[in-house]
């Protein structure tokens, strides 16, 4: 995406009404370059139009959002995904994030917040819903009783104190701007903390993360 231009967005959702609602809410903040209501059409059209951001429903017939990410990522790694779902089940959330989505929001999100999330993902940042932040805190909370696993990598398998603070505030419902004010750091720093958490989330081999991902047969 070139600076100054509005991001090009592609919608994938099997509910016609929901797509219409999202189009309406995003308004002129983005350019909608296409939409699809099922997995194979989505994969084909995304490959053709190469949007900046794909707004992706997690739950669809034939593999859902996960199948779309897995089919597009290998050939077009530059396409960014923002997952949208009514479900908050940890195995769904963690699975789409580990397969490469840059963020996760629930469908109850308000119009302005959705716009903000799309712009953030288009700019390369990560977007966490309060509940996702809660899951991550939970998953990274404690080293299991039988000690750290053999492959334990403190760089990847542990959150820094600052990342922990940022996630707690996200879980409490603070926006990035409010977090920046509360911790007296810049919004850019908040963004880089969240991106670093996202990287850990995708690469860590922590037991809880792999378990949740395996439950969705991802690994």
């Amino acid at each position: 995406m070139t600076p100054g231009a509005v991001p090009r967005v592609f919608l994938v959702d099997d509910h016609h009404l929901f797509r219409a609602g999202v189009r309406n809410e995003l308004g002129t903040a983005v350019e909608i370059v296409g939409e699809a209501d099922e997995v194979s059409a989505a994969v084909e059209l995304i490959g053709e139009r190469l949007p900046d951001v794909v707004l992706l429903d997690v739950h669809m017939p034939n593999g859902g959002g996960l199948a779309v990410i897995e089919a597009v990522k290998p050939t077009h790694p530059e396409v960014r995904f923002l997952a949208l779902s009514v479900s908050d089940a940890p195995e769904d959330v963690i699975a789409v994030i580990r397969s490469g989505a840059r963020g996760y929001v629930t469908k109850t999100i308000s119009g302005p917040e959705l716009q903000d999330a799309v712009l953030r993902v288009a700019a390369g940042d990560a977007v966490f819903s309060p509940r996702l932040a809660g899951f991550v805190l939970d998953a990274f909370a404690a080293i299991p009783n039988d000690g750290p696993p053999a492959s334990f990598d403190p760089e990847l398998d542990q959150l820094s104190a600052r990342e922990h603070e940022v996630l707690r505030l996200i879980a409490r419902g603070y926006t990035y701007k409010e977090i920046a004010r509360e911790l007296e750091i810049s919004t850019k720093t908040v963004e880089s903390h969240v991106s670093s958490v996202l990287r850990k989330l995708q690469l860590s081999t922590r037991h809880q993360l792999t378990r949740w991902a395996t439950e969705r047969r991802l690994i």
Binding site: S110, R131, G134, L137, A141, R168, A171, R172, G173
Partner: protein, 393 residues
């Protein structure tokens, strides 16, 4: 305390602590100073000092005066036995005991909880209510050993008749003191017991008022607002009736959380969210990190948090309310947040039950803390924390 002193006078806290401990070792005067400082310095953001409240506490002062004959007796025994050190310590002990009584009687709920925790091990040794047989045996054996050692010492070192006469005089004096002051002491004890009972009754009444406010008064307010929708009024009235019946006839308090199956914090929070959503039609998002079984302290925090959630749903005008709870090794915290109208916590009218009794008093009773952050036009966040009962011991 030392931290508070150093904050006030800008001296290093460690220096003050060392000075206190040293003077305590030498004569016990340090302890007295500590207690007096406790009486005189205000706790952070609190109205007045414990001392200013203590001065107006006539009964507490009476109890301290009633202990004077005991001090006199000890002093007399001390001088009779030529044990000078006894009398110097006795003064310090008397003053600090008196000070502690005043501190305890005039402390607020949070401090009282703390004092209880500190005093617990001592209580177990000495109080008659210690039920276990072991405590009884320890007490009897300890007492007997002390008694026999004292007797042996007396017989061995002061076998002359003169000291025995002296001892007889002391015993007579003590008897006289008991005869003179005995009835007064008895009456004081009785007064204290009845005062304690009154306090328990007052606490029960406060708890009941909070429950009635949370359930009945809230429902009545809802009914007034939905007067135009007869179905809704009937539904609200039915729910309330069911709640009240189960409270009055089955002893299950309304709004008692975790009573029906929700045995963990996360489950109970989901239940609170569901109930508030159903009653007020505002979505409530819950995020919980970690989980633990419910105990009475956590139920109290949940009841306070539920009230905060209801307030947000009812008054803030926000479209959603978010709850975040985190279970840590030492404490459990809960945040209730809305992006509604906000309010100024200092100008909430006195007669509005919500924050005072339903939130602050409840948290005070379990030794927890409440922080309210509210900006008019931007919303409100209420933070509740309670120490974990497992972490206290």
């Amino acid at each position: 305390m030392a931290g508070g002193l150093s904050e006030r006078y800008g001296i290093d806290a460690t220096v003050i602590r060392v000075a206190l401990v040293l003077s305590a070792l030498v004569s016990g005067i340090g302890v007295v100073g500590y207690v007096i400082a406790w009486l005189l310095f205000p706790v952070d953001d609190e109205q007045g000092t414990i001392g200013s409240r203590a001065v107006s506490d006539r009964k507490g002062l009476l109890v301290v005066v009633a202990l004077l004959p005991v001090l006199v007796a000890v002093l007399v025994v001390g001088s009779a036995l030529d044990a000078g050190y006894l009398s110097s310590v006795a003064w310090a002990v008397y003053l600090s005991a008196g000070g502690l009584i005043l501190v305890y009687r005039n402390a607020d709920d949070a401090e009282r909880v703390w004092l209880h925790r500190v005093a617990e091990p001592v209580m177990h040794l000495g109080s008659a209510s210690a039920r276990s047989r072991r405590a009884l045996i320890v007490r009897v054996v300890g007492g007997s050993v002390l008694l026999s050692v004292g007797l042996v010492l007396l017989v061995l070192s002061h076998s002359s008749r003169v000291t025995l006469d002296l001892l007889g005089g002391v015993v007579l004096m003590i008897a006289a003191i008991v005869v003179i002051f005995g009835p007064w002491w008895l009456r004081l004890t009785r007064d204290l017991v009845s005062e304690r009972q009154a306090r328990i009754r007052a606490e029960e009444r406060a708890d009941m008022a909070a429950r009635v406010h949370d359930s009945v008064l809230q429902t009545l307010a809802l009914i007034q607002r939905s007067a135009a929708q007869p179905d809704r009024v009937v539904q609200l009235a039915r729910t309330q009736e069911r709640d009240l019946r189960s409270w009055l006839f089955e002893g299950r308090p309304p709004g008692s959380i975790g009573a029906d199956g929700a045995g963990t914090l996360a489950a109970a929070l989901e239940q609170v969210a569901r109930e508030v959503e159903a009653a007020h039609g505002v979505p409530v998002d819950v995020v919980v990190v970690g989980d633990c079984p419910l105990d009475d302290d956590l139920r109290m925090m949940l009841a306070a948090g539920r009230e905060a959630t209801v307030n947000s749903a009812k008054w803030s005008g926000a479209s959603t309310v978010s709850i975040f709870a985190e279970v840590e090794a030492q404490q459990v915290s809960m945040f209730v947040r809305d992006r509604g109208t906000g309010f100024d916590p200092d100008v909430v009218a006195e007669d509005r039950q919500g924050i005072a009794t339903s939130i602050r008093a409840r948290m005070g009773r379990v030794g927890g803390a409440v922080i309210i952050r509210s900006i008019i036009g931007q919303g409100t966040e209420i933070e509740l924390t309670v120490p974990r009962s497992g972490a206290r011991t």
